[in-house]
């Protein structure tokens, strides 16, 4: 009847591949919108760019229900402990996308108030350039993260090398 008729009755795979395939196609982002990057993040989920085409459209505003934190914007030291607590509340396995130059390196802010890169307090998997990045860049970051999750071992050990999206 449907497309499943074309498939054999039994598909063999490694469990690692199967779990990785499932995980990477149902990312639930935790939006940590801190400044103007959050506007582009919202546009990314909207109908024009439609992040749901890549299986990451279910933005959850509770860390308990998310597995990828998108740090979108300027993180201040006053906000740092809040961001870390939100990250700690997310269930494993979890990932972090540093969206934009402020989250990646502090950006144009080099002063007493701004964290010079969220990698000072969080393990970042994907860095994204742009001020703010276009939605295309964020989609690319999600796709790079999906590649990374594919490589994830079943015991949750993550590949340590961060990815830089340009």
């Amino acid at each position: 009847m449907g497309v499943e008729d074309k498939f054999p009755e039994v598909v063999t795979s490694r469990l690692t591949d199967l779990v990785g395939w499932a995980r990477k196609n149902s990312l639930w982002p935790m939006p940590l919108g801190l400044s103007c990057c959050a506007i582009e993040m919202m546009a990314t989920v909207g109908p024009r760019f439609d992040l749901s085409r890549f299986g990451a459209e279910v933005f959850r505003f509770s860390p308990r229900q998310s597995d990828v934190m998108i740090v979108a914007g300027t993180l201040t030291w006053k906000m740092a402990s809040v961001a870390r607590r939100i990250y700690d509340q997310m269930p494993d396995p979890k990932w972090v996308i540093a969206m934009g130059v402020c989250a990646s390196s502090g950006g144009l802010y080099r002063n007493y108030a701004v964290v010079p890169g969220v990698d000072r307090i969080l393990p970042v998997d994907v860095y994204t350039m742009g001020c703010p990045p276009r939605p295309d860049t964020l989609i690319r970051a999600v796709m790079e993260l999906q590649k990374k999750i594919d490589e994830l071992a079943i015991d949750g050990r993550r590949p340590r090398e961060p990815v830089f999206v340009q």
Partner: protein, 228 residues
């Protein structure tokens, strides 16, 4: 002149049609009233706001008159700002912008605050909006407002030890992560930092361009080695 139709308004007032001669503005009753209260009128600046300097001890009574006197009735406090002039004495200044809705007047009042006793009377009982403005001036410049019911920091963390808008405070900060670490946060080593010793990942700031605004006298009062 005869064949040009005259403007009705100018025909009724022949003086208005004459070329405008530079005329001194009429004496401002506002300035007279404030001078009588003990405020010193300062020369007009480019924005043409009347500016007054008030002695710190006279400020509570002047503020009360500005708010309550029906001839003045400055109902609205637009802004309170703390300013640091490191070379001036007194070093700090608290600048108030006041708006009289009744008379449609805006004035600026400056109160000097010495460094040895950085304190000025709060005006929160006259203008309740002064609450957060004064907290911000306290947080950024370190001027205390006597009589403020809840003078906490408003922008920086509660346990932050410095006042970052003072001119001798380095803009790149001193120990920026201090509140995060005190709250139990752990700083991570970045992947990019592994081949560099800790603290060596920042290029020094080039300050060779000097200080064109003349804010600093070139002697930082904070220890160089404490900067991050």
């Amino acid at each position: 002149m005869a064949d040009v139709p005259a403007n009705p308004s100018s025909s009724s007032n022949p003086a208005a049609a004459a070329p405008a001669a530079p005329v001194a503005p009429p004496p401002d009753p506002l300035i007279a009233a404030l001078t009588a209260l003990g405020a010193e009128a300062l020369p007009l600046t480019q924005d043409l706001l009347p500016v007054f300097r008030v002695e710190r001890d006279a400020w509570p009574s002047v503020a009360r008159a500005l708010r309550r006197d029906p001839q003045l009735s400055f109902e609205m406090l637009i802004d309170v700002a703390g300013v640091d002039f490191p070379k001036r004495r007194p070093r700090f200044e608290v600048v108030y912008h006041l708006w009289s809705l009744t008379w449609n007047k805006v004035i600026r009042v400056k109160v000097g605050v010495p460094e040895e006793d950085p304190q000025v009377a709060s005006v929160i009982d006259l203008w309740p909006t002064a609450d957060w403005h004064e907290r911000e001036a306290f947080d950024m410049v370190g001027v205390k407002f006597a009589g403020h019911p809840d003078l906490r920091r408003i922008l920086m963390p509660d346990d932050y030890p410095w006042h970052p808008l003072r001119k001798d405070f380095p803009v790149e900060g001193i120990d920026n992560s201090i509140s995060y670490v005190k709250a139990g946060g752990v700083l991570m080593t970045r992947e990019l930092d592994v081949d560099r010793p800790a603290g060596q990942d920042r290029t020094p700031v080039d300050r060779s361009h000097g200080d064109p605004a003349g804010y600093s006298d070139g002697t930082p009062t904070l220890p160089e080695e404490g900067r991050s």
